[in-house]
């Protein structure tokens, strides 16, 4: 086959060859519906993503559906595909996806948008939905970015908002009912609660985010594809809960995955045993927004350790929170494998931490460090953000000050190991205002200001024990434009992509100069989107979507931020965020509602 002739000429042929363990091959003549599940980024990133594995499994459980994976090719492969006229294909069958029924994209971050256009083009399809004919596949999109579907509305036929476990199968059913008539399908689908067909949708009708009420009853894969070439996260991901009880005011995930739902330890152990047997993976990572809020963590940890220790399986707990993580648990985890500790104070002063509702005190931070240091760790990584609303230079200097005091604290502790120095790493990101957060109306600081604040912090750090990592800032500006963008940005995306912008999330491929050119040509300014303060009473591009959290709640929280006042978390007191409008009100603890 033509493809074989090219694979030895590219750097990562295993990204395009297929044939991985647990990938699913079916007889194409015996399935009714073919689905191309596209993750618009490179294989090693895409194969690290949990959502695609869940949906791949759900679709393929049906005998009449064949779901295949499709990822963005790296530039070397793309070049050869274009040169040899090889259209984008499904990894399982190697058939061109332009002949499939569905092409579904998951939109996980704004910087993958140009890849969607590029993949449609590589498939041999017009990128604009309006230019695709009725005999071409239905192009759908889901994932967190679709809570604001507008910037991608020109390219996507149908957005499916919220958790796809149930709705995706409904869409397949509807498609089969319509006998593959695309127009009829789109008209009917647009009337489904969670679906948005931008070409025909009446904006007065809200699209409601769908959720799965009971995670224990939601299907979870028993097998995972084990990549032949290493993925970035090459391990079992176990989703322990969805949603978050914390209401950090900058955090979109904390708002758009509400309400808080937990999986039972029993169900998870059942999943884990099957997954370990079917993959042979040597590491399990527990995924959630804040693992330590999992109520049965001590018991679950015991069950896990009992299973993992004799089998030499490592445990990774990436989102353990600073204020309540248990010393006990860490000790147990260390029995399996020790890794460096990471905390996310997000802001350098208590005043700003209160304003963003990051309920962490300085005592919490030092207590966590004590536990870490006394447990033998000497490396601590701290996550901070610059550009948060109400931030002043004092808050930025506070980051350096806090890091310095952690270094000093290490040397005060009697536990200091001989000859071993401490290392504190500050990982700095830039605040991006996101839809459906209390900060959705806030302006983002401009590029010059990002640079000034980064420099300010850099100069304030004097100790060699403190390392500062940060990104240049240009990609944050682009994220800021698209996260709160409207439909006019379709033109910008198209222009930028035509100029050659792809793989924007990769430093080596990101072309800010081309983006600037495209913005000038489209008369679109960063200041009109990222840099603008949106008004409370203005109609927002994403008002067509009902994510659950009400605007009244977001405004209340936004005002509290300016008073530097925190709000209790959902376990302490229900704030009436409004999510019961989509979940029915019986998912959160009934006492608090």
């Amino acid at each position: 086959m033509e493809l074989e002739r090219l694979l030895l000429r590219v750097k990562n042929p295993a990204w395009y060859s297929g044939g991985e363990l647990n990938s699913i091959t079916k007889d194409k003549n015996r399935v009714k519906t073919r689905f191309a599940f596209c993750f618009p980024d490179l294989y090693d990133v895409a194969m690290s993503h949990l959502g695609i594995k869940i949906l791949y499994d759900i679709l393929n459980r049906r005998d009449d559906v064949w779901c295949e994976r499709v990822f963005a090719p790296a530039p070397d492969m793309e070049g050869l595909m274009r040169e040899k006229n090889i259209p984008l294909f499904g990894l399982e069958s190697r058939d061109p996806i332009k002949d499939f029924d569905f092409i579904g994209f998951t939109l996980q971050y704004e910087l993958s948008y140009t890849n969607v256009l590029n993949m449609l083009d590589l498939a041999g399809l017009p990128v604009l939905a309006a230019e695709r004919t009725d005999d071409m596949p239905v192009v759908i999109a889901g994932g967190p970015c679709t809570v604001n579907p507008e910037p991608m509305a020109d390219f996507i036929d149908l957005f499916n908002i919220g958790e796809g476990e149930e709705t995706l199968l409904q869409l397949v059913d509807l498609w089969q009912e319509c006998g593959g008539n695309k127009r009829e399908f789109l008209e009917k689908a647009d009337r489904l609660e969670s679906c948005y067909v931008p070409a025909i949708h009446d904006r007065k009708v809200k699209v409601r985010r769908r959720i799965v009420k009971d995670l224990d009853r939601a299907p979870y894969p028993e097998k995972l594809i084990v990549p032949n070439a290493k993925a970035i996260h090459d391990r079992i991901s176990m989703e322990i809960m969805r949603g978050c009880i914390r209401g950090c005011r900058f955090c979109q995930a904390g708002m758009i995955y509400r309400p808080f739902r937990q999986k039972s330890p029993e169900r998870m152990m059942e999943n884990i045993q099957k997954l370990c047997q079917s993959t042979g993976y040597e590491e399990i990572s527990l995924t959630s927004l804040s693992s330590s809020d999992y109520e049965q963590l001590p018991r679950f940890a015991d069950l896990l350790l009992d299973y993992c220790t004799p089998r030499k399986i490592n445990l990774a707990l990436p989102s353990l929170r600073i204020d309540n993580f248990s010393e006990e648990l860490l000790k147990k985890l260390r029995a399996v494998r020790s890794s460096g500790l990471t905390f996310a104070p997000e802001a350098g002063t208590q005043r700003l931490r209160d304003a963003i509702n990051k309920n962490i005190t300085e005592e919490d931070i030092f207590e966590s460090c004590r536990i870490a240091f006394q447990g033998g760790n000497t490396a601590v990584k701290l996550y901070f953000m610059i550009g948060l609303p109400t931030e002043t230079d004092e808050d930025i200097l506070g980051i350096a000050d806090l890091a310095q005091r952690i270094v000093d604290y290490y040397y005060q502790l009697k536990t200091k190991k001989n000859g071993k120095g401490v290392s504190v790493t500050i990982s700095l990101s830039t605040f991006v205002p996101k839809p459906f957060t209390p900060f959705q109306w806030e302006p983002q600081i401009g590029l010059d200001e990002i640079h000034r604040r980064q420099q300010l912090l850099k100069n304030a750090i004097t100790s060699k024990k403190i390392r500062l990592n940060y990104h240049e800032g240009k990609t944050s500006v682009l994220e800021g434009i698209f996260s709160r963008g409207d439909r006019r940005l379709g033109k910008l995306l198209l222009t930028a992509w035509k100029k050659g912008c792809i793989l924007d999330a990769w430093d080596e491929h990101f072309r800010y100069d081309l983006w600037m050119e495209a913005m000038t040509e489209c008369s679109i300014k960063a200041e009109d989107y990222a840099g603008r303060r949106y008004a409370y009473d203005e109609e927002l591009p994403w008002d067509v979507v009902d994510c659950g959290v009400s605007k009244a709640f977001l405004i209340r929280e936004s005002k509290l931020a300016y008073e530097n006042k925190t709000s209790p978390n959902c376990k302490e007191k229900c704030l009436g965020c409004g999510v019961k409008s989509i979940c029915g009100g019986d998912v959160c603890d009934p006492n608090c509602l």
């Binding site: 042929p13 295993a14 297929g18 363990l21 032949n228 290493k230 993959t279 042979g280």
Partner: protein, 207 residues
């Protein structure tokens, strides 16, 4: 020491040596083979390969070795592993090792190069020396391909040439067939396939 002979073909040829080690480790786990772990702080399965096979080359009969913590019949090991390997990897047989991988001195390769003829090869190979750049631990070095190739034979096929190459293989001296291809047909668009067919010790005895 249990020696396992396997085939690496189809889509599995795009696995690097590291990928293959990871893959076999996980397969042993899935198949619940009582394989022994190394001691130490970060224990991993004891797993030794005869010789790394570069990405892109088919292996017709490759080997690796494991140690067992309890007895298991070779046939059972073979069947269990074959039930859980990705496309392109197949266990051929399992047996007690009688010699040491260190004794491997050379290997046979079969290389197909599209658009070339036996005459092209013979002309290329008739030069008194064939200098080429080889990556070694010390960096790039110029070597004489002609002196390194133990023996070779070229045969025309319909759309290219098939070379049967006998090349040094092992820790002491090693020559990749891909270097031969690159030197003979430097155009990067050239289509080729390569397979390692057999290993030999210094006496020429097949492994």
């Amino acid at each position: 020491m249990i020696r396992i002979a396997f085939e690496k073909s189809s889509t599995a040829i795009y696995m690097s040596h590291l990928d293959l080690m990871r893959c076999m480790t996980r397969a042993l786990t899935r198949a619940e083979i009582p394989a022994k772990y190394t001691e130490g702080f970060n224990p991993h399965l004891y797993l030794v390969f005869a010789a790394p096979l570069a990405l892109g080359i088919t292996g017709e009969r490759e080997y690796f070795e494991i140690k067992l913590t309890e007895d298991m019949a070779p046939e059972q090991i073979r069947q269990r592993l074959n039930a859980t390997l990705p496309r392109g990897l197949k266990i051929l047989d399992v047996f007690e090792a009688e010699n040491d991988f260190n004794e491997i001195e050379s290997a046979d390769y079969r290389v197909f190069i599209e658009g070339k003829t036996a005459e092209d090869w013979n002309r290329f190979f008739s030069a008194p020396t064939i200098p080429t750049e080889k990556k070694t631990k010390r960096g790039m070095e110029t070597v004489d391909l002609k002196a390194e190739i133990i023996s070779c034979r070229a045969e025309d096929t319909e759309n290219g040439v098939v070379l049967s190459l006998h090349l040094p293989c092992g820790n002491r001296k090693n020559l990749s067939p891909l270097l031969v291809v690159k030197t003979f047909a430097p155009n990067e668009e050239t289509y080729y396939t390569a397979a390692r067919c057999a290993f030999f010790d210094q006496k020429g005895k097949r492994f």
